[in-house]
């Protein structure tokens, strides 16, 4: 290696190589139904015609049966927290200030939980089995987005026993 090359190699220890790509996501037929429901502040799921499981958001196929989904089902805005975590760590792109709670919410009548935020209470009050309801944004602000539900807030009802939600965790 020449002296000139050595000098260059010595100085170059890292290299920035920024990459930027643009994508256009396609929601597909089933998620599109759900997102249109969100714009009307309704929660739309679908029922598997084979095992009768109610999926929300609806998906293109039942993962248990591998068949296309059947009837649409509008779900209530109330549900039960099955599992949750308290986010204490800041990270890039974070929209909320920690600490806050992410939870799996099993809507009444649904068989799979919806993943969303929990608000309206101290993070330390959140627990498995806790009853919650959707807190919507104003009608004028409703979008084709899950963020039309701002977060879930406690209803104050008694907790559901774990035995009743265990299968859905």
């Amino acid at each position: 290696m020449s002296e000139a090359t050595k000098a260059v190699v010595k100085d170059v220890t890292t290299m920035a190589s920024p990459v930027s790509l643009k994508f256009r996501a396609r929601a597909g037929k089933d998620l599109s139904r759900f997102l249109r429901g969100m714009k009307e502040r309704r929660i739309v799921g679908r029922v598997c015609p084979s095992c009768n499981y109610v999926y929300v958001p609806p998906r293109g196929a039942c993962p248990t049966c591998g068949c296309p989904m059947g009837d649409e089902r509008v779900l209530p805005e109330t549900g039960t927290i099955t599992t949750f975590c308290i986010v204490n760590i800041p990270f890039e792109g974070q929209k909320l200030k920690p600490p806050y709670v992410c939870a799996s919410v099993l809507l009444d009548g649904a068989d799979v939980a919806l993943f969303h935020l929990v608000g309206g209470c101290d993070v330390n009050e959140v627990r498995m089995g806790m009853r919650v309801r959707a807190e919507w944004v104003d009608e004028a602000d409703a979008e084709l987005s899950l963020e039309t539900i701002r977060y879930f807030v406690p209803t104050g009802e008694p907790d559901r026993p774990l035995a009743q939600i265990r299968e859905h965790i």
């Binding site: 290299m15 994508f23 256009r24 996501a25 396609r26 597909g28 089933d30 196929a61 248990t64 591998g66």
Partner: protein
Amino acid sequence: MSTFNTSREEIAIVSFVELSPAEASQLDEIETIQTIVSRATDGAGIARDRIGFTVSGSCDMLVGRPFSWIMAMDGAGVSKPIEESHVEMDGAWALYEAWVRLQHGDIDAALIYCFGANAAEDLMQVLALQLDPYYLAPTGINAAEVAALQASAMLASGATERQFAEVAVRAGLAVSVEAALAEPYLHRPLRASDLPRFSDGAAAMVIARGDYARSVCARPAWIQSMAHIADGHSLGARDLSKSPSLEKAARLAGVGAKATQIVEVHAPFGPQEVIALEALKQAGLSADAKVNPSGGTRAAQSVMVAGLAAIGRAASAIHRGEASRTVGHASSGPALQHNLIAVLEERS
């Protein structure tokens, strides 16, 4: 012929389906997979419970979402749990894994599927991300420009633009050689008719062993052999005008051992088809083999699907009784770097 590349068990392609670009463009990944998997299994009279292994091929960079194939798996019906694998590659390599798995001899059939829902605004730029991140990717070169470098190397070693134009006509991308040659250059020496027309797509295939294969398919396309080889990654480290890996894979697979009626070549860019056919010829491919009678995959190229589609179409020709021996080729990586060959035969 290497014994590693020959089927030890009797294994055949018994079912193959592709989704049309028009249909694929309406569906998300799960809906896509649900549709093709049910057509390739239920639609072909193949019981799901006879499938002992499922393997998929796709690339997150096309969708722009990490682990997109995990979500998509819902469409294949995965609970109760199935034995499952994935390659971040064209479905042809998923087929290779399934073929190796079936040689264990303990399961009857394997399902392969792949999808190429393309959400990227500039696919040529996405494809360039497979270049090495230190020397090539930072230059900003895109996939079409890499292919243009390769075409230039071909011209420098004796190929002609007329050859490229003939390939474009065969792919249905130009009405005549003269019309192709009259097009302006897009990436010199490449013209629009040398470039793929990208589309959404998906494909599914079932391979099966021995008697089970015979029971579900009147004319199984027996996999005589399969082999895949890669050339060095760096574009500067190899002669871009040739494909030693393809020639070697074709020799390992025994392409020249018998007369072949049909060859389906997967060359994303037109001039690469010239390279691929030359390599296959060197490995003993019959001079009168029909090239891409299916029309090839370039006119509606779905990335991660086109390679399996080429092999699937070579199998379909046997299913339909149009040929008794066919060769399917799949490629991967920049400038035809990685090549896979499948030799398919009818057996009485």
